[in-house]
Symmetry: C2
Subunit: 155 residues, 2 copies
């Protein structure tokens, strides 16, 4: 079991695009908002996993992740996960000692771009790159599980 501590921000401009490389993520959820936790199926290239996350308390969240066969993930995404699926390009951008993940959403969430950084401690002080904008940590609308039910195009 891990505990995820992360902060989430909107992004400004396009400069971040040239600062890292991206991979295509396809993921979906087996749970709905009524459940106390989320169960996510994710496929990135030929790597796949199931991730179980508890409720967010502050900016901490219990997380259990298990690698699974890519074929299982494809079948669960197609037949079991709620629609729409979340499809996004994830850019990894190194800034100082931190790795930022910038998610550029597609499909029904096109237009939304969110930057996340994982911290080792909730009190950790971070330097914000100049392309990082308004903080949205803890705003449930930006949870990927929420975007699968209320996509950005419907906000």
């Amino acid at each position: 079991m891990g505990v995820e501590i992360e902060r989430k921000f909107l992004v400004k401009g396009d400069r971040w695009r040239s600062l890292g490389s991206s991979e295509f993520y396809r993921q979906g959820y087996l749970t709905t908002a009524q459940d106390g936790c989320t169960v996510r199926v994710r496929l990135v290239g030929d790597r796949a996993c199931v991730t179980i996350k508890g409720r967010t308390v502050g900016n901490r969240r219990a997380e259990f992740e298990y690698a699974i066969p890519a074929a299982d993930a494809e079948e669960m995404l197609d037949t079991l996960c709620q629609k729409p699926l979340i499809e996004k390009n994830r850019y990894k951008i190194l800034s100082g000692s931190l790795v930022w993940e910038v998610d550029e959403f597609m499909g029904e969430n096109a237009g939304l771009i969110v930057a996340e950084v994982e911290l080792s401690d909730p009190q950790q002080v971070i330097d914000l790159p100049d392309w990082v904008g308004e903080e949205v940590s803890g705003d449930p609308r930006y949870f990927n599980a929420y975007l699968a039910q209320q996509p950005f195009s419907q906000w």
Copy 2:
């Protein structure tokens, strides 16, 4: 991915108790009835798994199962799974070429005893042992996921 084909029955009398040995199962669910599938966490001795099952169609059901660390299962059962948990002794009983699983439920489901047999083909003809009673295949009240929300003691 597997497909589970099973039939489920109530049991008669106590003779089945002497026909096999049992293990204690502790399991819980991360999903609710509103979800199209169930996600189960199960712990048996020091063996644990996460199992994802699709909707039941006839007596077939898609099933994906992954071994996980027992410590993860304990933490998820205690903190993330819906209550009450399902606690039962499972007896394995060989009859002819079939292995019957008899679940004797405890806690809020005490008094309920159910026998299941897994088939290789939906049309397979089976001989019912004399301790097997009324068939309840497909009756959703007997799904373990349902018993976690509407335990037998509340029927």
